[in-house]
């Protein structure tokens, strides 16, 4: 096992009335992790991400980022401390162009977004950084096209671009390949492969190709609780995992 955990959840629990959406979830991400979170629909994967990022408040448990307890820290502040997520459903700025969107994220990070007296083009470093990110994600050609006019695969890449602009220590990807057609998913794969080695990545995915290609550790979530957490080969061979995915039919 590599070094100390950069993100840790301990016994995170959440209930909506009598519906338990997260049951005593404990997870530990080391620096540079490539950790996949899989499970059937409704297992609570996105809910867990919402709990980790602060969109939801847990009923019990603790969340630690780089040694600091962030359980009660506001969502925006968690991003500033290096914990960023992408959304399963594109949550972009439809009327802004990619360069504007990423530039906004960069300015926010540098605390330059409130400077109403300064021309946008005056933020030279921020502009350069934003463009570099777009180039990294092969979005530089579409940089000045309105987000709503981008191809779906490009929009998914923009989701990641916005996240990268915040320079996260921990990146949570919620189904990055969701809905991306086969011919556009190659770009996505290469982007994920090229993520910095010192960035811890937790990703939710249904696409098993992606999961087994990139994950060095897999957690299986079922009905809000961790079924098993292990290395990919063990998960692949685990009969319980197959049962959970193949359905309720009892073959004896």
């Amino acid at each position: 096992m590599s070094g100390t955990a950069i993100l840790r959840t301990e016994g995170v629990t959440k209930k909506f009335g009598s519906l338990e959406v997260a049951r005593n979830i404990s997870l530990s991400l080391p620096v540079g992790a490539r950790h996949a979170l899989i499970g059937p629909n409704g297992a609570g994967k996105t809910t867990l991400i919402n709990l980790i990022t602060g969109r939801l408040k847990p009923d019990a448990g603790r969340i630690t980022l780089d040694g600091e307890d962030i359980t009660t820290v506001a969502a925006a502040e968690r991003v500033r401390r290096g914990l960023t997520r992408t959304f399963q459903i594109n949550t972009l700025f439809p009327g802004l162009t990619p360069i504007e969107s990423v530039l906004l994220a960069v300015c926010e990070r540098k605390n330059e977004a409130g400077q109403f007296w300064r021309r946008l083009t005056g933020h030279a470093e921020a502009v350069d950084e934003a463009f570099a990110i777009l180039k990294q994600l092969r979005l530089d050609d579409a940089a000045t096209r309105e987000t709503r006019h981008l191809a779906y695969g490009q929009q998914r890449l923009l989701e990641i671009a916005l996240a990268l602009a915040t320079r996260p220590k921990v990146l949570l990807l919620d189904e990055p390949a969701a809905g991306v057609p086969k011919d556009e998913s190659a770009a996505l794969f290469s982007v994920i492969a090229a993520l910095p080695a010192d960035m811890a990545v937790l990703f939710i995915e249904h696409d098993m190709n992606l999961v087994f290609k990139f994950a060095s550790r897999i957690t299986v979530l079922v009905a809000g609780a961790v079924l098993v957490e292990a290395d990919p080969e063990i998960i692949r061979a685990d009969p319980r995992v197959r049962e959970v995915y193949l359905g309720q039919a009892h073959h004896g």
Partner: protein, 328 residues
């Protein structure tokens, strides 16, 4: 794999062109000088329009750019108007400091109320802005010893910069109001084309994404609300100073509603939309003022419905769509 590079040519050009000054804009400002020469008997109307345009611009900043629906912005207009009037009533009629005081007072009230405004949405937000506007009106009505109540106040304003008397013809009034509008537009322009303007657009486009990029966007909203309140206060003070009077209608719901109509007419979120809307609305109202007021409401109502149904971007929105179609 960190690729160190500067932004591509096309992107940089695009960013720069975003905020470039167009020939149309220059033509517009030159045209604003025409009333001095061509319509000298309408100068007082022209200064009313300039003041209305500045007020509409202030509302555009919160409504069009930040997406905060307000039906009570006359509150700040009236507070500025009364601030300047009360200052003059107590012996200090210097107009420029009057504007400054109005901006400070309106801004202070805006700051206090901004804490409420940024924490509510939808119907609650509309009702709170409406309620705040209405209660300010009632407050001013009650404290009639200070505000003059329904009679209002008459004040004496000193000459601008010590030299320009507020004459009966309205030359000083229009020049003064126009200069204030010009400065207001310059400030708004810079603001809208800054990273702050980008942040406001981000909030309007998708406020859910803002915390996810680390933005404490409520602070942004409070900032623009205060700036807008200052601008509205200055507009109100201008009215007091150019007319020498102030009355309760500066705080009325009618004024709050009219300015929203002007903004929608011209197109919100487009910097000049409020100005265009103010020009059309106020000229039309002046021309039709001898007409039965019922007619006015009928046509304005119909126009409002038509704009919302057919041209939601207002006049500037419709024009820009036309331009884009031609460009293709």
């Amino acid at each position: 794999m960190r690729v160190e590079t500067t932004a591509s040519g096309p992107t940089q050009t695009w960013l720069r062109r975003r905020s470039r000054i167009t020939a149309v804009e220059i033509a517009f400002w030159l045209a604003t000088l025409l009333p001095f020469v061509l319509f000298p008997s309408y100068l007082s109307l022209a200064s009313q329009i300039a003041i209305g345009a500045l007020f509409a611009l202030s509302v555009d900043l919160v409504l069009g750019y930040a997406g905060i629906i307000t039906l009570g912005h006359a509150m700040f207009f009236g507070i500025g108007a009364y601030a300047a009037a009360i200052l003059a009533k107590h012996g200090w009629g210097e107009p420029l400091t009057g504007l400054l005081v109005a901006a400070l007072v309106a801004g202070a009230v805006g700051f206090v109320t901004s804490f409420i405004i940024v924490r509510v949405q939808h119907l609650a937000l509309i009702m709170i802005t409406l309620g705040l506007g209405l209660l300010t009106y009632e407050l001013a009505n009650s404290f009639s010893s200070v505000t003059g109540g329904t009679d209002g106040l008459g004040v004496e304003i000193w000459p601008v910069l010590g030299a320009f008397d507020f004459d009966l013809w309205g030359y000083t009034a229009y020049g003064y109001a126009l200069a204030a509008l010009f400065i207001g537009v310059l400030l708004a322009r810079r603001l809208v084309n800054s990273s702050f303007g980008l942040a406001l657009t981000g909030i309007r486009e998708n406020s859910a994404r803002m915390p996810a990029i680390g933005s404490t966007y409520r602070v942004h909203l409070q900032k623009i609300y205060v700036i807008s309140a200052c601008m509205a206060g200055v507009a109100g003070a201008l009215l007091t100073e150019t007319t020498g009077t102030v009355s309760l209608d500066t705080l009325s719901f009618q004024r709050s509603a009219d300015v929203v109509v002007m903004l929608i007419l011209g197109g919100s979120g487009r910097l000049y939309g409020g100005i265009i809307g103010a020009i059309i609305f106020l000229i039309a109202r002046d021309r039709l003022s001898d007409m039965n007021p019922q007619y006015w409401y009928f046509w304005i109502g119909l126009l409002l419905m038509a704009v919302v149904l057919v041209m939601p971007g207002g006049i500037l929105g419709g024009l820009s769509r036309l331009v884009r179609r031609e460009a293709r």
